[in-house]
Symmetry: C2
Subunit: 323 residues, 2 copies
């Protein structure tokens, strides 16, 4: 068990609020004064969530976007945010404040407060508070055998973007013996993910279970399967990759500097695209663009299968924090 899972497992033994949903969800659901709030907190650190040298504009955007993606998965609309900020040099502080303002403005989420400390490390956190637009608020649990599994959004683009930024992949391809500069589309997908707020709100009344794919499709599908006590049977062929992703694979020879693997299989174990994974009864035709990627089955030997087989266990299913 990873240290992250072990820690969360231990927290489950603590006094939990009913709105914590057993810590099996990415956001808490708090009923108060006739309203239902959705509350989430995300923390990010340099070297873990962003590469040293990353523009403060990208850091700030990602902090806001990842929190909003949790609200999106609950069909919530933003109310406000609290910012936790570890001070660094004056230019970094100033640029971060500027850009976090831009991001908050973009998504119409005003600042409620927060805390600023000298942390001795570039670390940031955000608590986002939203209002549920539909109750019951979608959870990871709720998927039933016989339902369809859907994905709204693409997977894999952020993986390529990260590879380019890290220098593990060159930003230049060889295509038909011609050098082709990789589309900045990919790095933008990693640096500036778009929370699917409108899609989440449209989906909330229709879905039986929903979550955002932040740590990798296979890992997050596993979490949904466990929370719902079912098996998610995925179909490899239907995985929604972007045209850009497919074009990059198709007939190209990558100028690969390291052993960074850019494959469809790898993309299924990569997060950061913030697609929405959801299940719904067969009668439901999603009101937003989405691709059907499988069927919910009774809990079987494996929580997640791809074309009937468990995912290869030679690599992690997705991203988990170690130490």
């Amino acid at each position: 068990m990873s240290e992250e899972l072990a820690f969360i497992d231990q927290l489950r033994g603590l006094p939990l609020h009913p709105g914590a949903r057993g810590l099996n969800d990415d956001a808490a659901v708090l009923e108060i004064g006739g309203e239902t709030l959705v509350i989430t907190h995300d923390m990010m650190a340099e070297g873990v969530h962003w590469l040293p040298g990353t523009d403060e504009a990208d850091i700030a955007h990602k902090l806001v976007a990842t929190n909003l993606s949790d609200l999106a998965a609950k069909g919530a609309e933003p109310i406000g945010a609290l910012l936790a900020f570890g001070l660094d040099d004056p230019l970094y502080n100033k640029r971060f404040a500027h850009w976090v303002g831009k991001a908050l403005k973009k998504y119409d989420m005003p600042l409620l407060g927060g805390d600023t400390i000298a942390a001795g490390k570039r670390v940031v956190g955000m608590t986002a508070i939203g209002r549920a637009t539909h109750t019951p608020v979608p959870a990871r649990s709720g998927a039933s055998p016989g339902e369809n599994i859907w994905l709204c959004g693409h997977i894999g683009d952020a993986m390529i973007g990260h590879g380019v930024l890290k220098g593990a992949m060159a930003s230049v391809f060889m295509q038909n013996n011609t050098r082709v500069t990789l589309d900045p589309y990919f790095t933008a997908r990693f640096l500036r993910p778009e929370p699917l707020l409108a899609q989440g709100q449209a989906l909330a009344p229709q879905v039986s279970a929903m979550m955002d794919v932040s740590d990798g499709l296979l890992l997050d599908a596993m979490r949904m399967a466990e929370a719902s006590d079912v098996t998610l049977a995925l179909s490899y062929e239907t995985m929604p990759f972007s045209p850009q992703f497919l074009a990059s694979l198709d007939g190209n020879q990558l100028d690969v500097k390291t052993d960074f693997r850019m494959t469809k299989e790898a993309a299924m174990r990569w997060g950061d695209d913030y697609a929405l994974l959801f299940t719904a009864p067969p009668s439901v035709q999603p009101p937003v663009e989405a691709v059907r990627i499988g069927t919910v089955e009774r809990a079987g030997k494996h929580r997640v299968t791809v074309d009937g087989n468990p995912p290869a266990d030679d690599e992690p299913l997705g991203y988990q924090h170690r130490r």
Copy 2:
């Protein structure tokens, strides 16, 4: 201007929620449905908020207590908390989870959720959500000329406790030429501050302004004076020190290892005791134990005076985060 102040000042230019109260308060006030929520976030890091080697039990307690102190200053009762946790070695993680549970249980604040990351640094954060027991919720602003200034709780004890722990002060005194071991009372006051929740709730309907003293009485009084646009005229003689604090000063010769100053003046620039500073009209006799420490005056040349004079400016008024 300190980097912390500069950063917060910049945040004031961002889109703010009305509940942010212009970022002039330690907690946000969110009216939702028919209820009023009080929301606060505190972040702590090793080497800044606690000394390396500090027991995880103390770290966890302090994280919970400092957040609850913000709720106390607003007269709120706890609803729940979100935890942000930077993973470290397994024993640290395990002990922290255990003790944060104890602290949450003690104050009847269940866990709502949170986030766990590998931060590469021992850093923790908590968002506490409370329900206001009285509206309007007390603010830093609201103090008017002619009102009395009160303090509920003591100042200075945590300063001594910190000095002992840091080794800047020995834990052994010379008293009348006899070695006397310093009362563990002081270290407990630094490591295990008690949020004045019941007091804050009793005071909320009576006060014109209230805040907790976390960064030093003079600095926090300055903040209240600025938010209220008044001058806080404090009286040195009435400062509420604990009997233990006074006894330690009285006739003792400190076995001081460094130039750590343990004086009443220094105590007025030290936080961590989490006393409640509040103002109220002359007709109000506080319903809880409190000491009158001054009078609110029309905004004068100096925001804060002690016995009519501005505090000496050779040292900071309190604790501010640099970098």
